[in-house]
């Protein structure tokens, strides 16, 4: 091969390699976009079923149920307008408790039941996941702020 042709081959290989890499990257990007929905979105049917999404809200007081000795746990998430039941099997994060804002990642399996693969609560009692705070604000745009225990988004960590 002449040096010229060799260079052409090399350039061609690089183009193919970069193309393949970009295709992989775009594919990975597409597959890993996680959309966030509020509990009202879920109830009104805006959230897709059987696709990994994230939902967020407050854990309703008194809603956490557990069979003694079992890891299976169920709780109700709310944005003070609509409720969604979440089921989860595993160790809950340290700061998970009733009345706290949490985000759950998992799939909606219909009938307002959400099966979570992961539950996130942040490490501060004042913390509210921003998505949850937003969706709460939207729910209560018409009301006086004092009606709703709107936690501040300030000061995590």
């Amino acid at each position: 091969m002449t040096p010229r042709r060799r260079r052409m081959v090399l350039v061609g290989l690089i183009v193919v390699g970069v193309g393949a890499a970009v295709a992989f990257a775009l594919n990975a990007f597409q597959e890993n976009l996680l959309y966030f929905y509020s509990t009202s979105d879920v109830v009104s049917g805006k959230a897709p079923v059987d696709r990994t999404i994230r939902i967020g809200g407050m854990v309703t007081q008194g809603s956490v149920q557990r069979e003694p000795g079992s890891l299976e746990v169920r709780f109700v998430l709310t944005d003070y307008a609509k409720d969604v039941t979440v089921s989860y099997s595993g160790v809950l994060p340290d700061l998970f408790r009733e009345g706290q804002g949490v985000v759950a990642r998992g799939k909606l399996v219909g009938d307002n039941l959400f099966v979570a693969e992961e539950v996130l609560a942040k490490h501060d009692e004042k913390y509210m996941p921003p998505e949850v705070a937003d969706s709460l604000k939207q729910q209560h745009a018409g009301q006086k702020p004092s009606d709703v225990p709107l936690p501040s988004t300030a000061a995590t960590n």
Binding site: G69, V91, L92, D94, H123, T153, T156, N157
Partner: protein, 651 residues
């Protein structure tokens, strides 16, 4: 009184940044020697007052002065003394003061060790650093004053976030900041070179040790953060592709590209404008990371507060620094043309590929980190990009890079004749292939294709990095710190790759509920839950479980995971029980009581996880060693000569 003294010192430090910037830049522009000479003392003064200010804040913490708002918010009289000191950077305001102190320390170190630099050039460097410091100081004074008084004083403090009451996290931020802000030095050098319109081989030689030093600190800082997340966040992961982790990692990738492109600039005078662009980008990304973290745009464990004023200030400062330096780059960089050529197979080509891949990885991570922010800003919904995206786009360019590295280390400048090393390299590859398949198979079970690729890549790099030091020592030749440092750093990378491959291929994580006396089997180890008891710590109450780990009926270790509740902030916290070993970690985190004396637990088996942080430390050590090379201390006049031959392959 102390708080006011601290604030006054801070104001003085800010005031000294201004003449440092003005006399440094304008003095050099006008060629006024006396003005230029004023820059260095200004640096020293700025450092002294920043240190004094920082010392005052630390003292306020030490004596529990709860009339200072920041102390009252982040400390408590029960807090152990060591953490009282670490609490200084436990939240936003103190962290920024530490930023300023770190920047000042780099500046003063540069002032002390840069006597050989031409006066005009060094004063420009100090001028640029003065602008950076002034920006930080103004930011603290206007939006985040740590000395604000609380009247009336609090009876006791609200305590440090329990997550931060830990040795790893006490030392992680300072070391990370040292690395992060260390990139201000190559940035200042790059801007000074653009202002001067001159960038020669000597320039690259001056800036190289500083860049490598900053890079080494950043490496250790990131590794410490990863280690802390592993044992303290309790869930045994070592990297989460959290936006804030990405913010520290992108400058590292660009910094790594920069130290390699600087090698080409120093040895061959090539890639000059590219090197300058990298130096600007690395620091810009560090600042962008600061913006993302401190403005609260990104919310994660690390984000301190969301205050729009702070965000606006940082955004403005960012635009000034990045916009200004890039504008200057667009104007001046075309004059940095390189005329020397190099063959297709040469060290230059390999380093070019290195740069392309590192920058591509950083770019793809940047896209994943910023894309949700853009969508949100455009009101197109809230999304997040899942960790598998980052893992994929990171591995695509990095795995080939590791293979290329094994060969590229031995390529010489201009035109590489790889025939000399062909045989040892192939032997190394064969050994790596055999060990890379046999070892994981024997130790942990059937390996997948990625496991084999990772193991072989890591082992090959390790073997390849040993070829040159061994052959030089055998031949009775001397081994310069540069070559040895490079070899060690690459060896560290190989260890890191092996660690990542081992953990990601063979980790086992199981969540389950256990009652006292019950046991569960994970990876051939029986974890027996013996008992749980109450425990009282200095500032927390805890439940401590005793878990005995047995293998084939014999006790391997007894672990004591805890669930703590800190008395002031009343947050529960898991303290994992870990048995660390070279081959594997055994890990137990205590969840919550499930009723009937049962507890939920997460049991984990983490093979080779220590190689990850060990590899990073070895990498950083290699970097440190390389900075001690004698040629960096040679006089500037000698340094200015371009090495003519391309044969010497030391980087």
């Amino acid at each position: 009184m102390i708080a006011e003294l601290g604030q006054f010192a801070l104001v003085l430090a800010f005031c000294l940044c201004l003449p440092q910037a003005f006399f440094g830049l304008v003095g050099a522009h006008k060629g006024k020697v006396q003005w230029m000479q004023a820059a260095r003392p200004a640096v020293a003064g700025q450092f002294v007052f920043t240190l004094l200010s920082f010392g005052c804040l630390a003292y306020a913490f030490y004596v529990n002065d709860f009339s200072v708002l920041y102390v009252a918010s982040n400390s408590n009289s029960e807090l152990p003394t060591f953490y009282r000191f670490a609490a200084v950077w436990g939240a936003h305001e103190g962290s920024l003061l530490l930023w300023l102190l770190v920047t000042a320390t780099w500046s003063v170190a540069l002032a002390a060790f840069s006597k050989q630099l031409p006066l005009a050039f060094s004063s420009r460097v100090f001028g640029v650093l003065g602008i950076v410091s002034a920006g930080f100081a103004l930011f603290i004074l206007t939006t985040s004053n740590p000395f604000e008084r609380l009247i009336p004083a609090a009876a006791d403090g609200r305590d440090l976030n329990p997550l931060l009451q830990d040795f790893g996290l006490a030392v992680h931020p300072p070391i990370l900041y040292i690395g992060w802000l260390g990139f201000a030095i190559p940035f200042a050098f790059a801007v000074a070179a653009l202002l001067e319109g001159r960038l020669d081989v000597a320039w690259a030689r001056w800036v190289r040790p500083w860049t490598t030093l900053a890079w080494a600190f950043l490496t250790v800082g990131i590794a410490l953060g990863s280690w802390w997340a592993y044992y303290e966040l309790g869930w045994g992961g070592w990297w989460f592709w959290d936006p804030v982790e990405n913010a520290s990692f992108m400058p590292w990738l660009l910094g790594t590209a920069l130290i390699h492109s600087l090698a080409v600039t120093e040895k061959r005078g090539l890639f000059r404008s590219w090197t300058v662009l990298l130096a600007i980008s690395a620091f810009s990304l560090a600042l962008l990371g600061g913006f993302l973290v401190r403005s609260g745009v990104l919310v994660s464990v690390h984000a301190f507060a969301s205050d729009p004023n702070r965000g606006l200030f940082i955004l403005g400062f960012l635009l000034l620094c990045i916009g200004g330096s890039l504008g200057l780059y667009a104007w001046r960089a075309p004059s940095f043309k390189s005329d020397a050529g190099f063959a297709m197979v040469s060290r230059e080509s390999f380093l070019l590929l290195n740069n392309v891949m590192l920058v591509a990885a950083a770019g793809l991570i940047l896209v994943g980190t910023l894309y949700p922010l853009f969508l949100e800003a455009l009101d197109m919904g809230r999304i997040s990009v899942g960790p598998p995206y980052f893992a994929t786009v990171f591995v695509i360019p990095m795995l080939p890079l590791v293979f290329l590295l094994a060969v590229g280390m031995h390529a010489s400048w201009k035109r590489a004749r790889l025939e000399n090393v062909k045989v040892p390299l192939l032997i190394a590859l064969a050994v790596a292939a055999v060990v890379g398949i046999a070892f994981p198979w024997a130790a942990y079970g059937t390996p997948g294709i990625m496991t084999v690729l990772g193991m072989v890549a890591g082992l090959w790099v390790i073997a390849s990095s040993l070829i040159e030091p061994v052959s030089r020592l055998k031949g009775g030749h001397s081994l310069s710190p540069s070559v040895l440092g490079m070899s060690i750093a690459h060896l560290g990378l190989g260890l890191f790759v092996i660690g990542v491959t081992g953990v990601e291929s063979y980790k086992i994580e199981r969540d389950l509920g256990l009652k006292p006396g019950e046991s569960a089997n994970v990876a051939g180890y029986d974890f027996r839950f013996d008992s749980a008891r109450d425990l009282r710590g200095p500032n927390f109450d805890a439940v401590e479980a005793e878990v005995t780990v047995l293998k084939d009926g014999e006790t391997v270790t007894v672990l004591h995971p805890q669930k703590r509740v800190y008395r002031v902030q009343t947050n529960p916290m898991s303290e994992a029980g870990i048995d660390a070993g070279i081959g594997r970690d055994l890990f137990v985190a205590l969840g919550e009581p499930l009723g009937e004396d049962a507890w939920s637990m997460r049991l984990q088996f983490k093979p080779l996880v220590r190689f990850i942080w060990g590899g990073c430390l070895v990498m950083a050590f290699g970097g440190l060693l390389a900075t001690t090379d004698r040629r960096y201390r040679a006089r500037a006049t000698q340094a200015a000569t371009v090495p003519a031959s391309g044969a010497a392959a030391s980087v």
